[in-house]
């Protein structure tokens, strides 16, 4: 048998290396690799679901337009708007800000737990996050009940038309978010939990824009 030429040996070695790489690439990625892929989107890319970002942008646009309309109408009757604002529960609304940012924190921690495969922990974190959503709605319901008891409704003044519309629409999102968090807690997959948490953070984001405009300014 003649000795194998160097070029042929080199080609065989290269081909074997290529086959090895192919085999590696066809293998199921390890749990750590999967987690890293989910944790860190490619630099500069939006994390999570693109459709959720479209929804977040849409909600900011809708609430932003509503708040701009509220402030524009206020120009026609600043005194009436200021008087009407005194009937709202400012303290309850300020407490609700703390409730929502704390709930958002728990949801963000739950998302991290989901990525680490800690199903029990993510459920333990999502449960109080949902309960805090219920606290938010209870405080909001108390405010509405008090306004109704004073004979105030959506038709009483333009201020209340806008404030009921904006805060009511936001409260509907809180309710939807609570259902979504409960659902993703049951599914307990990293992608589902991240998407549910992103919706919840959007609700949080809208509230930090809405609160000062409707309750403080």
């Amino acid at each position: 048998m003649t000795p194998e030429p160097d070029a042929l040996r080199s080609l065989r070695s290269s081909s074997r290396g290529h086959r090895d790489e192919e085999t590696k690439s066809n293998e199921e990625p390890s749990r750590e690799e999967k987690s890293k892929t989910h944790d860190e989107p490619p630099p500069g890319h939006l994390p999570g679901e693109l459709l959720m970002w479209v929804l977040i942008l849409s909600e900011i646009a809708v609430f932003g337009a509503g708040l701009l309309a509220f402030l524009a109408v206020r120009l026609s009757d600043p005194t009436g708007f200021a008087e009407a604002q005194t009937h709202l529960h400012r303290t309850g609304a300020a407490a609700n800000t703390l409730v929502l940012v704390t709930s958002g924190w728990l949801a963000a921690l739950a998302s991290q737990a989901a990525e680490a495969g800690q199903v029990r922990r993510l459920r333990l974190l999502l449960s109080p996050a949902v309960l805090l959503g219920a606290v938010f709605l209870a405080l909001k319901a108390t405010e509405y009940a008090d306004l109704f008891a004073q004979g105030i409704g959506t038709e009483t003044h333009a201020f209340y038309t806008f404030s009921f519309l904006l805060t009511g629409f936001h409260a509907a999102h809180v309710l939807a978010g609570m259902v979504l968090l409960a659902l993703v807690g049951w599914l307990a997959t990293p992608k589902a939990v991240e998407t549910g948490a992103a919706f919840w953070h959007m609700v949080d984001l809208v509230w930090v824009l809405l609160f000062p405009v409707v309750y403080l300014l």
């Binding site: 994390p47 924190w105 963000a108 984001l205």
Partner: protein, 81 residues
């Protein structure tokens, strides 16, 4: 302490500052401008740490720019009243 927990601490502090300003008796632009700035900062923290836009600085700058324009419009309409 994780970045998310630090962000929560910042959000509590910024919310307390807003409440303190509102309770201080300030009115008009003296109240509106700082409260709106605090609101913008809270939105930035939520986007950066809760929604993880820290991993996408370009997108974070875009959101910050859009929200800044929105908050500037709020301020202009408030001061015009």
């Amino acid at each position: 302490m994780t970045a998310v927990t630090k962000a929560w601490g910042w959000l509590l502090a910024l919310s307390a500052a807003s409440t303190g300003l509102a309770a201080s008796g300030l009115t008009g632009s003296g109240l509106a401008l700082p409260v709106l700035v605090l609101s913008g900062l809270k939105a930035h923290v939520i986007l950066r740490n809760y929604l993880r836009l820290a991993t996408a600085p370009g997108w974070l700058r875009g959101f910050d720019l859009g929200l800044s324009l929105l908050i500037l419009s709020f301020a202009a309409l408030t001061l015009a009243a």
